[in-house]
Symmetry: C2
Subunit: 349 residues, 2 copies
């Protein structure tokens, strides 16, 4: 048995090892071209940080399928399953670019001021530039995905997955907004929203390398399922952390989801148990709420079993997700993907 702490260290160092290569590739694929201000704004969040978890998942699936060790892999000339070389790094950059586009537009929509410790793009620049920077990253992601050099049939399938992923992210974001004004959201509806808003990009990250390297449909589908499962678990864990981690460690007010009336699996469960969720916190201003109020609310949710319910759901999703990895050869990269799944629900922030 590996301890959660040891696992966290393994995962974070595996992610860090790949991060530098990914960051270099981002600079290559997305240079600061003319008009400079537009490209600077487009690169702003990408350069501000980020773990590069999705590119890591993508590269690890590629490593596992091709039985290539990370230490010696050349991701720009990476062997597909018939021994032809493709540029799998372009696919990794493409999903990170999509992720960055959604963050820029989400921050506008949620009117968030901070992201990754720096001002959101619409604060650092302006609304116009932020919309346009997101739109630029959007098409750039498609251009970059077309640079893998994979056979045309596979590129077409990869682009179809990418386009469909973006559509679902938009649908998920739209549902998230809609749910804020509804009190009758079902847990299934919530999980569907989380699947679209968050999990599909993990699913794409896991399935795209299989498509591009020429794996069979069963493998592609299983990997897509892995991404959906761990992506949903990741979001549910986020909801748990919002209630259980001290504000200073969280980087924002603990319980802010409750204050802002955001629906989560936890509140939906509590509502079903008869908890008057809307009265748990008296204010909807995060700056006005007290730690004591949050403590009391968390106690009520714990008493209703809602936090345990969310943790168990996330745990089940991670187990199913890991099982799906059986389509991969047994190797270090597959073990890393299993550890990433565990890490996503064990992480403290």
């Amino acid at each position: 048995m590996t301890s959660p702490e040891a696992r966290e260290e393994t995962v974070l160092s595996a992610v860090a090892e790949r991060r530098e290569t990914v960051n270099e590739a981002i600079s290559e694929s997305l240079p600061i071209a003319e008009p400079e201000r537009l490209y600077e704004a487009s690169r702003y969040l990408l350069d501000a940080g980020g773990k590069r978890l999705r590119p890591t998942v993508l590269l690890a699936v590629a490593e596992s399928l091709a039985e290539e060790a990370h230490q010696t892999a050349d991701y720009r000339s990476f062997p597909d399953l018939s021994g032809e070389e493709i540029d799998i790094m372009s696919a990794a950059v493409s999903v990170e670019v999509i992720q960055s586009f959604t963050l820029i537009h989400d921050d506008i929509m949620d009117d968030d001021d901070l992201r990754r410790g720096v001002p959101a793009v619409h604060r650092e620049y302006d609304l116009e530039t932020a919309i346009l920077a997101g739109d630029t990253l959007y098409s750039k992601a498609f251009e970059i995905m077309l640079e893998t050099g994979a056979p045309a049939e596979r590129s077409v399938e990869a682009l179809d997955v990418l386009a469909n992923t973006c559509t679902q992210i938009c649908e998920g974001q739209s549902l998230d907004v809609e749910f804020e004004t509804r009190t009758d959201v079902l847990p299934e509806e919530y999980l569907r929203m989380v699947e679209q808003k968050t999990a599909v990009l993990y699913a794409a990250s896991a399935a795209l390398p299989a498509i591009l390297l020429g794996a069979d449909e069963e493998t592609v589908d299983a990997l897509y399922g892995y991404g959906l499962d761990v992506g949903r678990a990741f979001q549910i864990q986020d909801d748990v952390l919002d209630l259980t981690v001290p504000s200073e460690q969280l980087g924002k007010q603990r319980g802010s989801d409750l204050v802002e009336n955001k629906q989560t699996l936890i509140t939906l469960h509590a509502r079903k148990q008869g908890v008057d969720v809307d009265s748990l916190v008296g204010t909807d201003d995060v700056d006005a709420v007290t730690e004591a109020e949050i403590d009391e609310a968390v106690e009520a949710l714990e008493a209703a079993g809602s936090i345990d319910y969310a943790k168990e759901t996330a745990q089940e999703l991670v187990e199913t997700g890991k099982d799906r990895l059986e389509v991969l050869p047994e190797n270090d990269a597959r073990r890393l993907l299993e550890q990433i799944a565990d890490y996503l629900i064990e992480r403290g922030h």
Copy 2:
């Protein structure tokens, strides 16, 4: 010699003939799915009207290449150059969907209230929904372009053109904003901005059917050039009309570009002739400007030869554009494409 009036009638009736089929195809490719509010907002501008000029260019190029008459053509099962059937209508819908996405986001950026006689999407709905509706159309355009059933190599090329077109539109929009704060813009820079912001989507509309039907590179390039030329001419004519057409016919204040300090080929030429363009109109409020002020400004621009210069530039672009159509077989569809080019600079609004 055909008179401008007769040509306008021919073009508008040719466009109208194809519009109904295009509108039907839009409903098929972009149904009001869940979440309904998102898809209603996405369809809002598409349903509010629009000539469908870009889809008409795309379908006319296809008709000309395949020597198919519009009256009997089945665009959903359209013969490519080797006799295989492809769905060319999906490509026509895709470019119109891209056009609609850019209008929604442009209206937010320019803070425009009206479009096609109805409130802009961010006014009819809200900012969040408008951003998201544009983002949804963006990925939907890629999904729809993947539905042509063309061989994978051609689909990959078509998607590359589409993605690159979107990137250029963003770059052009960014330059347009940048130019508002610069007084040293060169006419070449202006033409480059117009090329990116407006002409590339005409270029894509003309080149995509050639790519998808399997035409050779020379044909694809010539048609792309046709679109760039007539697209730039179209924008320059817009700038001329803004000064020369009465407000009631224009649907907005005549001379609003001058009032809002927008750079056009006309003002750039005038500046080079020593005209103090920034002092031509005393106000930057379109509601405060008088017709007499505009008359005087137009007289100054006419005296400097700037309006004639713009008209001549547009005329030259249209002539070069029409010459490029020599790669097409001589038939009714090619003649329609020639007439569309002429119409774009003869139209009165």
